[in-house]
Symmetry: C2
Subunit: 207 residues, 2 copies
């Protein structure tokens, strides 16, 4: 056993995983996303393609450097039961924070992903794909709260979950563009303001 109680195995796994992500980033930068094959990536790191898929579910997972992720169960449970404040918008904002607080890729890795997304537009929807599992969980949580509150609109859970994702994403981008100081959650207000600017005033109630 060594530093942090990690055995040689675990240390090697982490290093290999990092190497695969780094190689993916280099190659995508050099050649473009569609031109880079999984085999290319593995050649550069010196592992087999079969091993690559032991680490990542897909090639795109390596681009984003994803680790299994979800969001805070406790936050979710509080939200589903009408908390923490009882105000939907305010409480939804805690979902945004929760998403941003959850351990994810490092600062550097986030920066790389953001830069790659600028030159590889298709990565945008791929990012949404990564969000699919969390979105479904989140929609379930949101649905429970809305059922409890007997809200009527069926589209709502999806819209809320999507808004959470995009606000979180926007906040992260703003944070990165501002130099990566502090934390993405510091930019949630700015993301909300951006969205309000786009939306304008609320339409009058339905007749």
């Amino acid at each position: 056993m060594q530093e942090d109680g990690l055995g040689l195995r675990e240390r090697k796994k982490r290093a290999r995983r990092d190497a695969l992500i780094d190689a993916t980033h280099e190659l995508v930068r050099e050649q473009g996303l569609e031109q880079v094959t999984v085999e290319d990536i593995c050649d550069r790191v010196g592992v087999s393609v079969r091993t690559f898929f032991n680490y990542f579910d897909s090639k795109i997972d390596a681009v984003f450097g994803v680790a299994p992720t979800t969001f805070d169960r406790q936050v979710a449970e509080v939200y589903a039961t009408g908390g923490p404040t009882g105000d939907l918008a305010t409480d939804t904002r805690t979902l945004v924070s929760a998403l941003l607080e959850f351990p994810g890729p490092s600062k550097e890795r986030v920066g790389v992903a953001i830069e790659l997304m600028k030159v590889e537009p298709t990565l945008f929807s791929r990012h949404m794909e990564l969000f699919d599992a969390i979105r479904q969980e989140m929609q379930s949580v949101i649905g429970r709260r809305l059922d409890r509150e007997r809200a009527e609109a069926a589209a709502r859970p999806e819209l809320i979950a999507v808004a959470v994702f995009h606000i979180a994403r926007c906040a992260t981008t703003l944070w990165y563009e501002a130099g990566s100081a502090g934390h993405p959650r510091d930019y949630i207000d700015a993301a909300y303001r951006d969205l309000h600017t786009v939306l304008g005033p609320q339409p009058p109630p339905a007749s």
Copy 2:
């Protein structure tokens, strides 16, 4: 030459394309999206897999019944040059309308897609994928307008384009859930209201 000036060729192409879409829908309903192969679809219609890909870029395109699409060039140009009203939020709303006005799948096909998305959650991000091309065009248009107005936020074009997409999507869902009478654009206000409910009041200006 026959009805509508369409030759036998064109009529057969349309029928074949419709048949492929219908077969895709049936099979996905019966077996689930991931279980249905392109070969299954082609077997049901009686064409080769190679032909399938003459009609659709991907299997998912057949699920959504997509046709090449974009949005109104004239609307885009007006928006990019600061119009039609000069107010960003109001003008962005014309983008939503433009997206909903553009010829797309039939009413029935939209309904099928919405229903399939309920049982196949992964279709959500696939829908985003289909939006990728339009989104890039739209972001370009939005970027031109913002440059013209010297707006600072770099994330804005993407956020606006995404908001347009989701508002349009929400309006369509609300329209469908309300029985498909009228037109999805009749539900834009409702979609905006939903989003406002989620967002709550605008945060104070940055200090």
